[in-house]
């Protein structure tokens, strides 16, 4: 903590402010860097909580087919809390941390467009997290019922019928966070629109900024829907209104339409920033320009637009009829967008000189994870196969591949890549490599085991299928081996995360002081990045790089940014 405080004080002095000090400084700040750090710590704290929840119920699953160390309801509750924490309070704040800290650096701006809105976004996380977890503490103390226990998408009437304050707290917690993130999303988007350096044209934006643009358009589009859905449930629970109760004239399916209109674009909100960071990192640490800058941007645009039209593939089993054909076509369209991304990343690495640094390892894992996630996901875009795999562990494996190996891994790459930039110190590289090893191996092993349990391909299960959100599996005790393996992988990943936290905290105090470790590592490469080297900047496309190099192969890294900037003309 002390380093950040010092860092932010530096910043304060630069601008000649004389604001409050101590805790008031953190609370009242509107400095984008400090707010970015606040986002980061919130995300890491929530990551610890959500991970712990996962380890607890994974242990429960692996103990015995009928074991419920947690009560049946407690199991549901822990699963719900895990999902809500990871989706809303880990991935979103973590990307928010980088948007806050990095956007102004990338764009050459002094500040975010609306600094106060920015601060609101940060403290909205605290409020939401506190409200979500309060019933859990209450439940441990025996004061309240279980926390929210209807799953992360919490369909009514189950949601409206649960008599627990925890259910309301879940709704309000997510609601408060959703309000603050809507503001933040608008802020990020407007910052990119209005605060760009005058010389930075749209086609000069680094890939990360492009991915941020689409992320926040999708966030602005989708997050209000979750407020609608949860708000209506809250009104139904507390003010006896009836939107979703059939007995009183409501329609239970209405909720699902609203929820998944939010839910699917939300998935792309979760993965796009990670993919953007991976694109930056892969290009830089392969010493190669981004392959196909424009097709890459176009592919993200395709994915973003398509993502708004696929929501009903979550509802194939609800009795939808012919509209399923249309949703199937849109769902398949996603392949085109992500296919081009994967192609571009592989082509960037190909014949490059790949430095296997920690951020690079996580970024490669993003590309691999995206492949696995897409190959699994194809079965859910297709109504016919979806009906056989719906609500099995194949789904669980699939969305964990998407959210963790794509979304989270990309953000972890971002943490390592920018840690020296944010703290002025280098992390311990050996511990970081250990973290990367355990996380990539553990998570991928875990999600493959889940997928295998879900489509009956785990060895020795005789084709039995594990159903999603089942606290027990007495119907098929032979699944126990699979759960043991899954839990083993989960623990491996868990150990890695402990090392990760230790490394971050230790390096904050004792890490080697560096200004730009990557410049030292990559001396000779010709690809500056604005957050390290400042503006002016042109993205390292093949044309830009070859023009800068001016026929020569080796350009001294010092001053490359200026050289790049002086290049005019030329098109991709």
């Amino acid at each position: 903590m002390s380093t950040e405080t010092a860092d932010s004080h530096d910043h304060e002095e630069e601008h000649g402010h004389h604001g409050p000090t101590g805790w008031r400084y953190w609370l009242y700040t509107t400095d984008h860097k400090v707010i970015g750090i606040i986002y980061l710590w919130h995300a890491l704290f929530a990551f610890g909580l959500g991970g712990l929840a996962a380890l607890i119920f994974r242990t429960d699953l692996a103990a015995a087919p009928d074991s419920v160390y947690l009560s049946l309801l407690g199991y549901n509750s822990l699963v719900s809390i895990h999902a809500l924490t990871m989706i809303f309070f880990v991935i979103l704040p973590l990307q928010g941390a980088f948007f806050n800290y990095m956007l102004p650096l990338f764009l050459g701006a002094d500040e975010m467009a609306w600094p106060r809105m920015n601060a609101l976004g940060a403290w909205g996380i605290t409020a939401g997290l506190a409200i979500l977890y309060t019933p859990m503490v209450g439940n441990f103390l025996g004061v309240t019922g279980v926390p929210t226990a209807a799953g992360w998408f919490q369909y009514p009437p189950l949601n409206t019928m649960m008599h627990s304050i925890g259910q309301d707290a879940g709704i309000i917690g997510v609601g408060v966070f959703a309000i603050s993130s809507t503001g933040s999303a608008a802020n990020f988007f407007v910052t990119i629109l209005n605060e760009r350096d005058p010389d930075m044209d749209w086609m000069d934006l680094p890939p990360f900024v492009w991915f941020t643009v689409f992320t926040n358009i999708l966030a602005l589009y989708s997050i209000p829907w979750v407020l609608d859905a949860l708000g209506m449930v809250w009104l139904e629970r507390n003010l006896a209104m009836s939107f979703f109760t059939a007995r009183a004239g409501g329609d239970p399916l209405l909720y699902q339409w609203i929820w998944w209109t939010f839910g699917h674009p939300e998935v792309y909100v979760l993965v796009l920033p990670g993919m953007g960071i991976a694109a930056e990192v892969i290009s830089r640490f392969s010493e190669r320009p981004i392959y196909g800058y424009k097709p890459l941007i176009a592919s993200v645009a395709v994915v973003s637009v398509a993502s708004m039209g696929v929501w009903a593939h979550h509802m194939y089993a609800t009795g939808l009829a012919a509209s399923r054909y249309a949703f199937m076509v849109f769902s398949m369209l996603i392949f085109l967008g992500f296919g081009v991304y994967i192609y571009s990343m592989v082509a960037t690495m190909w014949k490059g000189r790949i430095h296997l640094t920690t951020p690079m390892l996580f970024s490669i894992a993003v590309v691999v994870g995206l492949l696995y996630s897409g190959m699994d996901g194809a079965f859910f875009g297709q109504p016919a196969t979806d009906l056989q795999l719906h609500s099995t562990y194949f789904v669980v494996g699939h969305f964990h591949f998407t959210i963790v190996t794509v979304g989270l891994f990309g953000l972890l790459a971002g943490i390592y890549y920018w840690y020296p930039r944010m703290t002025g110190r280098m992390y311990n590289a050996r511990l970081a490599k250990f973290h990367a090893f355990t996380t990539i191996l553990g998570m991928m092993g875990l999600f493959f085991t889940m997928s295998m349990l879900g489509d009956g391909t785990f060895p020795g299960t005789g084709g039995e299928i594990m159903m999603r959100r089942y606290a027990t599996f007495t119907y098929a005790p032979e699944l126990l081996t699979g759960h043991l393996v899954a839990t083993g992988f989960a623990y491996l990943a868990g150990i890695g995360q402990i090392v990760f936290f230790i490394n971050l905290l230790w390096s904050l105090r004792s890490g080697e002081e560096v200004s730009d470790p990557w410049d030292e590592l990559l001396s000779g490469q010709n690809m500056p990045s604005p957050e390290w080297d400042g503006l002016p900047y042109r993205p390292p496309t093949a044309i830009a790089v070859s023009e800068t190099a001016d026929g020569g192969e080796d350009v001294v890294s010092d001053g490359t940014s200026d050289e790049t900037a002086q290049v005019t003309g030329g098109d991709d």
Binding site: G292, K351, I364, A378, T385, L387, L441, E512, V545
Partner: protein, 317 residues
């Protein structure tokens, strides 16, 4: 552990040849898992005589195969790149020529489009043959000359089956005939449940105040287990029913059974259990009166099934 070894930290990030091997092995390991899973998906046994699952499995195998080839190829490329092009293995990167590989990218995009549209067309026809088919179309596909109507009601936390012609509601298990198209409707008494018999390829949500129709068909009985009624024992096969939508604390306990007996046995069983085997002609295949039914359109066929189903249960109660 070299925690205090500060000078080393940045240099440690520079991978050497050893690391190139380790990391390509890590990614190769994930590829092995992927191949294992998807190969098993390709060679999944075809459930002959079980519909709709047999039709779905055909399509699923094709998808597993194309995902295996397409996805596997790309992971293999990445594994190779991590090994061959790592900084431990070479001194400098090759320059990227502007416009490099533009042809290959075009080919790739076209290939994705072709695979995508193939999947769309095959998927659409699979859907049309399975979940989108009307019972009459379904009967024609599987060659079922008779059908039986059933209503499935889900609740916290039970299944209830009202089968046409049977006087009693069945709960713990339901007995149904083979060689017969089972046309059923799902609904719920409280929250949303989902009626899933994964081994038959069936998942249908049970939603309050909504009736969802689906159908399945079992061709033959292997006699793996048996059901008893009125002192008689009938050879039967068990298909497991599971709830596929989180419905509260009893969700994982909502396991039910569908027992399939042969059509002849079903007549005897129904009599012994209380009621009659209310099989109806579907208008498919031989049989005198089924020819007359054949004149009706599909829609009428469906209405008839619904009417007789509700009629018989109404009369019995």
């Amino acid at each position: 552990m070299a925690l205090g070894d500060r000078v080393e930290t940045v240099r440690d990030e520079r991978g050497d040849m050893f690391e190139a091997v380790i990391w390509s092995l890590v990614f190769l390991f994930t590829l092995v898992l992927f191949v294992w899973e998807f190969v098993n998906g390709v060679i999944e046994p075809e459930e002959a005589g079980l519909f709709p699952v047999a039709t779905i499995v055909d399509f699923k195998q094709t998808m597993f195969l194309s995902a295996l080839i397409g996805g596997g190829l790309f992971v293999l490329l990445i594994v190779w790149a991590v090994f061959r092009y790592s900084s431990g293995m070479r001194d400098r990167a090759e320059r990227m020529v502007p416009g490099e590989g533009r042809f290959l990218l075009t080919v790739f995009v076209l290939a994705v489009l072709v695979i995508m549209s193939t999947t769309i067309f095959v998927g659409a026809s699979t859907l049309a043959q399975t979940d989108e088919a009307s019972p009459a179309q379904a009967a024609e596909q599987v060659g079922a000359s008779q059908q039986l109507h059933m209503t499935v009601t889900a609740g916290q936390w039970f299944w209830r089956y009202d089968v046409a012609g049977i006087n009693r509601t069945q709960g713990e298990r339901v007995v149904l005939p083979a060689n017969t198209l089972i046309v059923f409707e799902t609904t719920s008494a409280d929250v949303i449940h989902s009626f899933a018999i994964k081994s038959l390829g069936i998942t249908k949500d049970a939603i309050p105040a909504q009736m969802n129709t689906a159908w399945f068909y079992v061709g033959e009985v292997h006699g793996e287990t048996s059901v008893q009624a009125g002192g008689q024992t009938f050879a039967a096969d068990r298909y497991e029913v599971r709830c596929a939508e989180l419905c509260g604390k009893g969700h994982s306990k909502m396991i039910g059974s569908v027992y399939i007996v042969s059509q002849e046995d079903y007549h005897e069983w129904a009599e012994a259990f209380g009621g009659e085997a209310a099989l109806e002609a579907t208008g498919v295949g031989g049989g005198g009166h089924s020819e007359e039914e054949g004149g009706h359109s599909d829609d009428e066929g469906m209405d008839m099934g619904g009417d007789s189903g509700s009629g018989s249960s109404g009369g019995d109660h």
